[in-house]
Symmetry: C2
Amino acid sequence: MNDFFNPESVAIFGSTKPKKVAYEILRNILEGGYEGKIYLINPRGGSVFNLKVCSSLDEVKDKIDLAVVAVPAGLVKGVLEESVQKGIKAAIIITSGFSEVGDKEAEEDIIKLAKERGVRIIGPNCAGLFNTFHNFFPTIEMRMPRGNLSFIAQSGAFGGAVLAWAEDKGIGMSKFVSYGNRCDVDEADLIEHLNNDDTTKVIMVYIEGLREGQKFLRAAKASKKPIIAIKAGKSESGRRSVSSHTAALAGRDEIYQGAFDQAGIIRVSDIEELFDLAQSFAYYLEGLPRGNKIVIVTNSGGPGVMVADKCEELDLYLPEPTAELKQKLQDFLSPICSLKNPIDLTAQATSQEYKKVIELVAEEYDAVLVICIPPMFVGSKEIAEGVVEARKRVKKPVLVSFMAGKLVEDGIRLFEQNNVHNFETGERAARALAGLIRYGKRKR
Amino acid sequence: MNDFFNPESVAIFGSTKPKKVAYEILRNILEGGYEGKIYLINPRGGSVFNLKVCSSLDEVKDKIDLAVVAVPAGLVKGVLEESVQKGIKAAIIITSGFSEVGDKEAEEDIIKLAKERGVRIIGPNCAGLFNTFHNFFPTIEMRMPRGNLSFIAQSGAFGGAVLAWAEDKGIGMSKFVSYGNRCDVDEADLIEHLNNDDTTKVIMVYIEGLREGQKFLRAAKASKKPIIAIKAGKSESGRRSVSSHTAALAGRDEIYQGAFDQAGIIRVSDIEELFDLAQSFAYYLEGLPRGNKIVIVTNSGGPGVMVADKCEELDLYLPEPTAELKQKLQDFLSPICSLKNPIDLTAQATSQEYKKVIELVAEEYDAVLVICIPPMFVGSKEIAEGVVEARKRVKKPVLVSFMAGKLVEDGIRLFEQNNVHNFETGERAARALAGLIRYGKRKR
């Protein structure tokens, strides 16, 4: 599998014309700053991007670690045979036109070849992959900055949309794989690989259907890292449609849900929740909540209550502070503060009050949800400073939602510099916290 | 009520020092471009922003339509009496320190005065209001561009966060009112006023608790415009907290929910849903869906299925097209397209195909959900053009989600120029559509 993500040399098969797949992949690899050797193979020869095009692999003297295949479907088998001759052990087949359009035979041929000759294949009908930590982007999707999330996607288009979404939100990635028809390498293989990948903290998965359920479950159960999955096809019309797409069998949703629960996979229902959770895991993996007893600290009653509503909907437990803790809080807070849960510090809350309160309540609760609407004439950055300090001292999750827009720009910048993720709404923070708790429970 | 929103002259009572409330409100009014007459009243006199400060209302010769009061709580009654003497019929009391901190007596005094002397009061303990169509911003909150949504909020802080959120998303507003302790003017009065306001298409409400439930219900029932409400306090801990905040009685949630249903109020659970729905209403009010039979048109299988899942969760009905419609579609679509529901045009879908398909399916369904992930090498703008054209011809709701980030920037710009709202995810579009259907059902 290492040849896919960290090859020292790569051969790309396909057209040398702009806007054609092989050309665009070559461009992506070059612009991404790949430091290994690159060969473009096309019988017509010529040159592109100052690279001489080889008319066949015979012209290449060096060892090749990876083949990227973007030739027409009818030529794929021949290219694979040529690659095998050359000793290549890993191939990404971008080309579509196999089982997904009904041509199972052509795909069987490839599978047979791969098995007999010991070549691992990703695809066909996929969008490629990338490894930001190897500056390696053999994909038709966009390049991304480095980060500690990795993402594997059955559907190339959706994978691309997820990347574009992440980029829009300033989120980085470690590895991305679009695996298409997974004639050989499947979800389970990729999860296993990412599980041993130092730069991946959280594994995100988009699947439409599984082929080998047991293998997938084994890999997921063995994972030391959180796996967050989007699985489409809950609904009747959804399943009807899935079965006609990527040649996958959707299966009954209850079976999937049961399997996910067994394997400790956290299932989410859209991109927004996917990233809210993934980012939370990346930040809080070292200090997962030990239970569901949480406290809300706010400077505004209404939003505090709305988040409390959401928390109870998510089965989080919000008891009032003990008399002892209330006494400690009363000692320095104004009498107009509400010391129930949510704890409402009122609009007069200072940065130091936030800090002290968070540190104190963390002793009694499993996690703290901090809500803040900066009051007039007090910068969000000032209050954020207190939260950042408390966050550093407290060994439990402190999830934060400062609202909103330009009112909190400065505060959010400070958070980013200090590895604190700001949720756009408190409800989204609560949802992410519930995910952390579910995962923490499984880990115990 | 007109004096609150369209006064020809306003008197502001309070401090003339920067960062103090009266000063900041004056600044907001001046910077907002208010064209009426402005008087700042403070016994110390002096001048601020090149305006002479009057030591009392006696110095003012003109008629005054509205008083904005931001003096300390102990002085509010006196200021009101002075205003009444001058013939002022409307006052916004920003000052806090009344029933919300337990001083019910002081608030009763104000209420008595208001009733006896025929003055309408907004507040106390509120953040003021604005009317963008009168360039009038007597508030401590931010100014906003014009739009056709209006928003009334019990909590000032949350109101401010909502405005900042809207501004961040480029959404405009018509009117905003933070009504705080509502010692006189309440939700019902404001809904009634907005219902007759030409520049308001959708009324958004944030309430923590009602005082006069029947009056509110009557106003809501009589509303010709959609009312979207956020009501905090569903949960036990939420209610515990609400009762200690803004002196409101939260009451049992089922009672509220029942009342909302009766009055046709659409309840949402967070800011994101609030605006998704409000914007949808603003766009589709003239052509509400007549039923819940909807169709999804996509160029990518996975996202289409995810949206179908969401639709079924929301009780939307997604039957397959009739044989007749399928035939019409087959006539011009590639055989690899899936003609179930979702209709998957595949990555090869062209702008014209989107256009023709949307127009055709709209004949058979109550609404169309259009999903698009622009394929490589095809600009999102090109496909968006077809959608915009179809949207113009079709008299039913066509909700759109092009994904994501920079992949669709150009397409979204075109949508904005043509009054098409793009939802960040198809799931959010489905949720908004479900809201439109619920409202449409009530209207029939």
